[in-house]
Amino acid sequence: MQRFKGWFGGGAVLCLVAGGYTGLLTSPPDYYQGEIVRIMYVHVPLAHTALFSYSVLFGGSLWYLWKHEPFIDNMCHAAAGISALFTLLALITGSIWAKPTWNTWWTWDPRLVSFAVLLLILGGYLMLRTFLIDDPEKEGRYAAVVAIVGFIDLPIVHFSVEWWRTLHQPQSISSRGVAISDDLLLPLTLMSIGFTLLFVYMLIIRTQLLYLTSLLHAKKGRLLSQVHLSQAGS
């Protein structure tokens, strides 16, 4: 994965530049929303990537509980942080979009609330990993259980617009077909691919960062204990 990092980063930049260009400069405004529709090209891909990154966290947590590989635990830890970032940004951009269209920054809509709950779950996961447990193996196991239990929120987020009467618009792209014009679909697709590639790129860097940090701590700790033990022995 590490050796493909540059390809993911480069691909993300290309897709985001192309998506940003078509989204902001060449695609037409929406008939009803006007220019405001351009927020969709960042809000929807951010939300998709947030859900995708939580799915990666869920899959990784299952894998960790099965195989107990420290690398997977690192990857899950990294995915959780990035997922929290994407979830937060999706909520903020959604709020910015809501103000001119719904005339409010926030409303207690099922889609918004379930998405905010996802952010709280991720916050809890990260707090568990940062403050609560000292034993790394126990920490990884407990965190994996939290991530798996928290996955129950994902179908709620996804289907909330169909299960309840909601202000949030339903999916434009679903199994029933594509309810969006090609002019708007192109930048949306490019941005979605771009943000997904960016997530993978960030995941690689952050996993690497967590691995190197733990390696450095472990090595330094061992060296220090060796010095301590040799001093105690002499």
Binding site: V13, V17, G20, Y21, L24, L25, P29, Q33, G34, E35, I36, R38, I39, V42, H43, L46, L85, L89, I92, T93, I96, W97, K99, P100, L198, Y201, M202, I205, R206, Q208, L209, L212, T213, L215, L216, K219, K220, R222, L223, Q226, L229, S230, A232, G233
Partner: protein, 170 residues
């Protein structure tokens, strides 16, 4: 580390070019002119965009045939507008609208032929800034930290195998 900073400089320049292009588009196709400024302009065939609220009780004409006359208000400024174009769907009193057309200084009337929606471009710019700036800053610092950790590990030779411990546990 040099290559790392060069790459980020390239990204920064690319972003600035993008911001410039977006600003140009906004200035040329979306920016509206204040009513006060329009009233002082000489006659011109170049269409301009004005934004204001349709004054209460001023809307007259046959909207179904695309003809209307009304007063546009923006604070203390007022502009008489004669609209002649496609039947407007969203034209009603007390609604803020964008009208596209030419100012006739002799008749002191703004001849509008098209109606636009309020651009709200500030929201769009804010959403893009919120989406990209934190991500770019975080990636920059994460990438930098990884490079520094690599350097630290290399300099302190922590990658070398450790010498076996000679502590007698018995």
């Amino acid at each position: 580390m040099t290559w790392f900073y060069v790459r980020w400089l390239g990204l920064f320049i690319l972003s600035m070019v993008f911001v410039f292009l977006v600003d140009q588009r906004y200035t040329h196709t979306l920016k509206t002119i204040p009513l006060k400024t329009v009233r002082t302009q000489p006659a011109s065939q170049t269409p301009v965009r004005v934004m204001g609220m349709v004054s209460s009780g001023s809307l007259q004409g046959n909207l179904g045939e695309g003809q209307a006359a009304f007063e546009l208000v923006d604070g203390a400024d007022t502009l008489s507008v004669l609209y002649n174009g496609l039947p407007p769907e969203n034209l009603r009193e007390l609604k803020t609208v964008v009208m596209i057309g030419q100012w006739d200084p002799a008749a002191q009337v703004f001849h509008a032929h098209e109606m636009g929606l309020v651009p709200h471009f500030g929201f769009v710019v804010s959403a893009y800034a919120v989406a990209f700036l934190p991500i770019m800053v975080i990636i920059f610092f994460m990438g930098r930290k990884v490079m520094l950790l690599f350097q630290e590990i290399k300099q302190s030779k922590l990658y070398e195998p450790e010498a076996p411990s000679h502590v007698d546990n018995g």
